[in-house]
Symmetry: C2
Subunit: 139 residues, 2 copies
Amino acid sequence: MAVKLKDELKAAGRRLTRPRQAVLEVLEQCQYPLTASELYQQLQEHHVSIDLVTVYRTLTVLKELGLITQLELHQEGQFRYEIREGREHHHHIRCQGCGKIADLLLCPLKKLTAFIEKETRFIVEHHSLEFSGWCPKCQ
Amino acid sequence: MAVKLKDELKAAGRRLTRPRQAVLEVLEQCQYPLTASELYQQLQEHHVSIDLVTVYRTLTVLKELGLITQLELHQEGQFRYEIREGREHHHHIRCQGCGKIADLLLCPLKKLTAFIEKETRFIVEHHSLEFSGWCPKCQ
DNA sequence: TTCCTTGCAAATACTTTGCAGACTG
DNA sequence: CAGTCTGCAAAGTATTTGCAAGGAA
């Protein structure tokens, strides 16, 4: 991965730095999308010295490179980021009790898009679909 | 509507005030969901003297009473509010160019919910679904 | 050596809270 | 009159920007 990252950065005239690697490593190991501050906390636990501002800037760069995806979960009021590599387009469900976030493997919206384009005359480029409810433990 | 509003407020031990009526009136007249500051601007244009803080507090009350719905559109990073009365459950599509927001009349997700509950073992309580793209003028 | 990156401080955007005075019922 | 509501100021949270020093190529 580090090699691929390096190439991507190089192609964009960017540099491979420890903070960028570290951010990507944490995201790779995490099973669910992280907020900037959660990421920052995990980096501190891993004894990686990095400023919150750098976390934000790194996330912006990685997003521009297409290595990570930015998303918002229902009513959370902040962004989350997850690794893109090797992952299909998918959506999430979040527990209102404990905050657990799980992936949804199916996306039923591809077929729907054509219909919506006809109905609204918009050209659809993105969609977001998130569910919330209660996970097995919190029910 | 003012009568219904009054009853709702009374039942909750709240009072009917000019700001609350004004906020609701603007939301009623608007064809798309507004942010707190958009609402504030419209109130100023209508020469209604009200503080932004009061707008926020009023929106909270109206939301608690179930008179308005709070929603977030994709990547906007702020909340929007729309009148609930007489409106079916629905979703939105937003233009990446001009910001125009249109309603989607259909919601294909009711059927999907049972499937997701089986897949994830969550109990689904809410879902959010928003599209973005380019409106006819911005294409 | 170039110029991209970082840390620190500060600014910005959105939203919430504290408090004393104003107003509704 | 009691208790809610409002405006103003300030605080809180998430995110962005400015700038000089640090570091990758």
